[in-house]
Structures are given as structure tokens and as C-alpha cells.
């Protein structure tokens, strides 16, 4: 079990979290390579279907990260994302997926270190849960 390296899909909003991840890179801050990022323009773009799909396709965990409340580039997108996330957690539990596999965080464009910290935290959490076999297709 200790050799288990989870695969994590991170949906990052273009303006805050993706820029934060970029800053982590330009600042030479290290974080494990378990996370693969998908850039969307806003966390409000993230359809709950994407999350289920990522878990079906083989991800062990999903991270949604957007701008801090009040900082959304499109003024309301991160609030939509937060509401969907809350509803999503109940649905995940209902379909037999541990709700902690899906995490949400706020990382601003200036928080390169926080991005790395969040990634480490998510990986820790997913490692504790083990591989997601529940709804995997293959």
C-alpha cells in the first residue's frame, strides 16, 4: 500500500489557481507529480459530470480550485462552483464514492506556496483512502 501513488486530476481556474500553480513553478517550489492539471477559464465551468468522469477514467481523487470568495474574475463563478461542490458531495456518497476524494480549495495567483501545500494535503488524503476502484471503467 505504501507504494500507492494516487492519480489526481486538478481543475484549476485560469485567473487564480492556474496562475498560482504557474507561480509555484516559476518560484521553483516542488510538489509531487501525482497531480495533472486541467485549465478551465473559471471554476464555474466545472460540470459535476467531469468529476465523475475523471474518477471513472482512473483518477483516485479530484481537486477543484478557484479564486478566493470575492476575488472571482467573473464575479460569481467560484460561488457557483462552491454550490455545485456541496451538492456533488452528497451525490458522490449516494453512488458509493467517498466524498473526500473530491476536494475544493481557494488558491490565488499569488499563492504559489499554498498551491504546493494544497497538493500535498490532497495527496496525503487520497493516499489514506487508497485507490478509487468503485466506479472505475477499466
Amino acid at each position: 500500500m505504501s507504494s500507492f501513488e494516487p492519480r489526481i486530476v486538478a481543475f484549476l481556474c485560469n485567473w487564480c489557481s492556474y496562475a498560482g500553480a504557474d507561480l509555484a513553478g516559476t518560484s521553483r517550489i516542488k510538489y509531487p507529480p501525482n497531480v495533472r492539471t486541467i485549465r478551465v477559464m473559471c471554476s464555474g465551468r466545472i460540470n459535476p459530470m467531469f468529476i465523475v468522469n475523471a474518477l471513472q477514467e482512473g483518477a483516485d481523487g479530484v481537486l477543484i480550485s478557484g479564486c478566493h470568495p470575492g476575488d472571482c474574475h467573473y464575479s460569481k463563478g467560484n460561488y457557483y462552483a462552491r454550490r455545485r461542490y456541496q451538492v456533488m458531495k452528497n451525490i458522490l456518497e449516494y453512488i458509493g464514492i467517498h466524498p473526500d476524494r473530491v476536494r475544493m480549495s481557494w488558491v490565488s495567483a499569488g499563492e504559489g506556496q499554498k498551491f504546493a501545500d494544497v497538493i500535498n494535503e490532497v495527496i496525503e488524503g487520497i493516499k489514506a483512502l487508497g485507490p478509487a476502484e468503485e466506479i472505475r471503467r477499466r
Binding site: V9, C16, H73, K76, G77, S108
Partner: protein
């Protein structure tokens, strides 16, 4: 117009002018103590006497309240006039032997003390204070009390006045400095208006130009303290303004401007060293900040450029750098970048003004990184300034015993100091978060505005059309600020000079065949870019969503909300994202 002659020189003046005003117009000096252009003429001091000639008659009159008439001949400096003034001055000098102004005038008229017994009063009973209070301020807090030789200026029952506004107008007009507003006249405490520009080290009038190079360089009225705006009295400045430019009705207003680009160049605040009590700032007046020192050495500053602390020139000066900056693990981990160099400059200025001053600078790491900077620091060192290194985590303490400051730092002898100057940290503006939210830009962890890329886009923000310049983005010195500001300006111009702007093709698009016209996307769109329109589908009129591409900013919230996947954000369609997921896991 009326034609008169002053000392045989013809002069044309308006009707109703007094001789004093006419003489002023003709540049003929007439001494006066009780006249003030903003007040009615009083004729109390009798110093403005002049000789007038009409026909064969000659008469002595007070020029301040004598109106001119056609053909009047005035002589301002005849023997008779001088004699009359000398007599008045002799009496005034006996009454107020210590008043400088009276002494100067007496010398001018050859008056010596001796004939009358001396008193030691300061007040010459000109009544300027009484009149400005009554006529201008509309208060009348003090008045003439007593008669004859007992006459004096006082408040009712010598108790001090409740009605007094403590505006200080009487102190300003008093020619002899006889008024003790705080202790005798007013029961309301006068509050000095501190000059913000001089870092609170001097006072300023209610109407003043904010600072010497202000743009526009015109005075403003401090509406909270203006007597006219408080009580409806005064309006003295209006009387003096020849251009009739005083407008009491102006109000603060919010101006809305349509702009294409914005440059955020809102500058910085300074760290308040009172948060670190070990430096003694706020406790000892001899401990000042670098900015306060800057005002102190400035020719337009409170001391006219003289380095004075408690009225004396300091002999021993100690500078302490990194006050509030470079706190490891703290809120301000950054270096403020400007302090090393301005402290070196200050040391140089002290040396320049006070040749035998002993100067010590406590520094952590000397960061003389710019062009010519290292050379300058070496020059300062050669001038005799001692640089003393200290570690950041070793506190420096400033203590005071028997009126002498002592600066103690680990590894150094305790230093006596007459003046301690703190190089305080450059900190983000108090309202930077508020402005960042308004402009939709980000802050870096230190609280300054965040640039789009630390190396390749140091002028841009992540929000298109908004640029950064100066210390709003992070501490920097003047050459760096000028460079960044020039960069920001040219970036802004390059947007403004174009007729059209290219947008990223990431707007939402509707597949009308799939859309069921539920209107969820209409509701969710933060920019009101979607509305329902009617189309003909197989002979039926149905409603479908329609995107206004000019309004759509491409957030994709509608795509995530759409139940039938009819609204898709270009470049971020469901299919594309699902493919991306399949690709990476």
C-alpha cells in the same frame, strides 16, 4: 475716478478709497498698527497720520479712515507728521518696552525711552483681535474692558470664553504677539492643524496648498476646520483673493470616467515603528523616521532645512535600518529595497550640514545594488560614517536616561545619541485589497499588487488592460519606478492606439437544435450576455438561448449549468474537457 497727489506725485484712484489704500497703490509706505485690510478702519493707533493740504489749509488726519476727494494733496513724511508719529511711538514704547515691532519703529523715528515711566505690557490696544472676532468670526469672545488707563482686552469676568471657537484668528492678526489664547481667552482647546506633508512636524493654515509641487498647484479649504463652513463667519480669504477664486460651495464629488486602460500606481504606506516599542519611536521625540528626517533637511520643510531636534543641532546621530522589513516568517519577509540608499544619503546630508557630527548606521546587509550605488556608499563611509552590522534577530534597544538616548546592540558598544533615525519598511497601501477587488487583480502574499509574470510580464496584471507601476507592485526605488511606469504607459498606449481589440475566441455558443429554452443559462450568466430568442423549429415557434458575443467574457458557467449540453464554451466544450481527462489519467 479721483485725482489726488501723494508727496506731489499725481495718482488716480477710485472713489471711496482711503488715503492709506491710495498710498499703498502708489507704493508709498505709511506705518500702521491697527489697520487690517479685512477689517473696518478703526483709527486707534494714530501712527498712520498724514498731512493733507487743501487751499491754504493744512491738517493732520489718520490716513486709514480718511476718504480721498478730488484735488486732495497728501504728504506722508513731513516734519509735522514725523513728530506726531514719534510722540505716539514714545508713548507706545513706554507702555510696551519689550515689543520688538514697537522698538524697531521707535528706532526708525529716532525715539528713545526715558520721558515716561515704563510699563511692561505687550498689548497696544489696537483692537485687531476684538474686531476680527466680532466682525469676521461673528463671535465676539473678547472685548475692551475698563476705561482710560485701565483699559485692556479681556473675556467677560476674565473667565475665558465658551463661545470662542479657538480658531486662532486673533493670534494671527495680533501685531505684538500679546494673545494667550489657550490660557486666557478660550475655554475650548485650540487644535493645531498638522501638516501632513511635513510629516506632522509643522502646522498649516485651514486654506493651504497641499504641498509645494501639488498639481494643480492651488490651495484647498480644510472644510472640517474652516470657520465659514463651520459657523458662517470669517470669509477673510475671499477678501484677500484678488482673483475672486475662492469658492466655498465646492464639494467632494465622485467623477465617473470611461477609460480603455488603467494603470494602478497607488504607491505605498510606511510601517508604523510604534509597533516595535524597543526602538522608542513615539516615546522619545528624538527618535524619528527616515521620512520625518527627509522633511527636516528639506529647504521647504518645517525648519527650513536645518537639522534640529528639540531646537538643537544633534552631535551624535544613529541610523537603524530594517525596521519592520525582512522579518523572517513574519508578515513582511521582503527587503524594502530603498532604505540602504536613503540612509546613506541621510548620513551624507548630516555630514554636509553638521561637519563634526558622529554618525553610526546599524545595517543588516548593505544592499547597494544599483548603478553608482556602491560608489556612493563608499563615499559616505569615507566621510567618516561608521557602519555597524547587526543580525536581524538581534534586537536593538533605544533607551533614555537623564535626557540622553542610548542605543544598545549586541556586539557593539552602547552608543549615546542625540537623534535616532529609523528606516521603516515600505508596506502595501492600507486599501490595496479593496482596490485589487475593484480592479479584479490579485495581491501577492506580501500584500502588493501581483504582476502577471515575475520575469516576463512585470508590468501587466492577469486582467487585460490593467497595468502596474511603482511601489504598488512592490518596494522599488525611483529609477526602477520610472522604468516600470514608462513600460506601463507604453503598454497602455499600445492598446489605446488600436481601433479594434482581439479577444480570445472562448465565448459561449448555443446549439439551437439541442436547446430546450429553459433559461437556466440566462439566469446564471454574470454578464447578462444570454437571452432567449424565438425561432421557428419544424413549423413551431420555440424559445432558445442566444449569446451576445460582445458581452460574453468566456467564463463557461452557462456550459456547466446547461442540462442538455446545448450551450458550449468554445475551446472548453464538454467533449474537449472529457477528452483532456481521458488523456491525462
Amino acid at each position: 475716478m479721483i485725482n489726488i497727489k501723494i508727496n506731489s506725485v499725481p495718482l488716480e484712484v477710485e472713489e471711496g478709497t482711503t488715503i492709506l489704500e491710495a498710498a499703498k497703490k502708489g507704493d508709498t509706505p505709511i506705518p500702521t498698527l491697527c489697520h487690517h485690510p479685512a477689517l473696518d478702519s478703526f483709527g486707534a493707533c494714530r501712527l498712520c497720520v498724514v498731512e493733507i493740504h487743501y487751499g491754504k489749509r493744512v491738517k493732520i488726519v489718520t490716513s486709514c479712515n480718511y476718504e480721498v476727494w478730488d484735488g486732495l494733496e497728501v504728504f506722508t513724511d513731513t516734519d509735522r507728521v514725523r513728530k506726531s508719529r514719534a510722540m505716539t511711538l514714545e508713548l507706545l514704547l513706554a507702555r510696551c518696552p519689550d515689543v520688538r515691532m514697537i522698538k524697531d519703529l521707535a528706532r526708525e523715528y529716532g525715539v528713545k525711552q526715558g520721558r515716561f515711566s515704563e510699563e511692561s505690557d505687550n498689548c497696544i490696544l489696537c483692537g485687531l483681535c476684538v474686531r476680527i472676532c466680532k466682525e469676521r468670526m461673528g463671535v465676539g469672545a473678547a472685548d475692551f474692558v475698563g476705561r482710560g488707563v485701565d483699559m485692556k482686552i479681556d473675556t467677560p469676568y476674565s473667565r475665558g470664553s465658551d463661545a470662542c471657537l479657538a480658531c486662532g484668528a486673533c493670534v494671527t492678526v495680533c501685531p505684538t504677539g500679546a494673545i494667550d489664547l489657550e490660557k486666557r481667552f478660550s475655554r475650548n482647546e485650540p487644535v493645531p492643524l498638522k501638516s501632513v506633508f511635513n510629516a506632522g512636524m509643522s502646522t498649516k493654515p485651514v486654506i493651504a496648498t497641499p504641498f509645494p509641487q501639488a498639481v494643480p498647484n492651488i490651495p484647498v479649504i480644510d472644510s472640517a476646520n474652516c470657520v465659514y463652513l463651520r459657523t458662517g463667519g470669517c470669509r477673510t480669504c475671499e477678501t484677500f483673493c484678488e482673483a475672486k477664486a475662492i469658492d466655498y460651495d465646492q464639494k467632494d464629488e465622485t467623477v465617473e470616467v470611461d477609460v480603455g486602460t488603467i494603470i494602478a500606481a497607488t504607491g505605498f504606506d510606511l510601517y508604523n515603528p510604534e509597533e516595535k516599542p524597543e526602538y522608542g519611536y513615539g516615546k522619545y521625540p528624538e527618535v524619528i523616521t527616515g521620512l520625518e528626517f527627509e522633511r527636516l533637511v528639506s529647504a521647504s520643510g518645517p525648519t527650513g532645512g536645518k537639522i534640529l531636534i528639540n531646537g538643537k543641532e544633534p552631535r551624535k546621530v544613529v541610523f537603524i535600518q530594517c525596521v519592520g522589513s525582512r522579518e523572517e516568517g513574519g508578515k513582511r519577509e521582503y527587503c524594502s529595497r530603498v532604505c540602504c540608499m536613503y540612509t546613506a544619503k541621510h548620513a551624507h546630508l548630516v555630514k554636509e550640514r553638521l561637519k563634526d557630527a558622529e554618525i553610526s548606521i546599524f545595517y543588516t546587509d548593505l544592499r547597494a545594488f544599483g548603478k553608482g550605488y556602491e560608489e556612493f556608499v563608499n563615499r559616505v563611509k569615507d566621510e567618516g560614517t561608521t557602519y555597524r552590522r547587526r543580525e536581524l534577530n538581534e534586537p536593538i534597544e533605544v533607551t533614555k536616561k537623564k535626557g540622553k538616548l542610548t542605543v544598545t546592540a549586541k556586539g557593539h558598544p552602547a552608543l549615546e545619541a542625540d537623534m535616532v533615525i529609523l528606516a521603516t519598511a515600505v508596506v502595501p497601501r492600507e486599501d490595496s485589497l479593496e482596490l485589487a477587488r475593484k480592479l479584479n487583480i490579485s495581491l501577492s502574499p506580501d500584500g502588493f499588487f501581483l504582476e502577471a509574470h515575475p520575469k516576463l510580464k512585470p508590468v501587466e496584471t492577469l486582467t487585460g488592460g490593467i497595468f502596474l507601476a511603482g511601489c504598488a507592485q512592490g518596494p522599488k526605488d525611483i529609477p526602477d519606478t520610472v522604468s516600470q511606469a514608462s513600460g506601463a504607459a507604453s503598454r497602455a498606449i499600445s492598446i489605446l492606439s488600436k481601433d479594434t481589440i482581439m479577444m480570445e475566441a472562448i465565448t459561449a455558443a448555443v446549439n439551437e437544435a439541442k436547446c430546450r429554452g429553459c433559461g437556466l443559462c440566462v439566469e446564471i450568466c454574470p454578464f447578462n450576455a444570454i437571452e432567449l430568442k424565438e425561432i421557428n423549429r419544424l413549423g413551431y415557434t420555440v424559445k432558445v438561448a442566444s449569446v451576445n458575443e460582445a458581452l460574453c467574457k468566456g467564463c463557461g458557467s452557462c456550459s456547466a449549468a446547461c442540462l442538455s449540453q446545448a450551450v458550449q464554451q468554445k475551446g472548453f466544450t464538454d467533449t474537449q474537457i472529457l477528452e483532456a481527462i481521458r488523456g491525462i489519467v
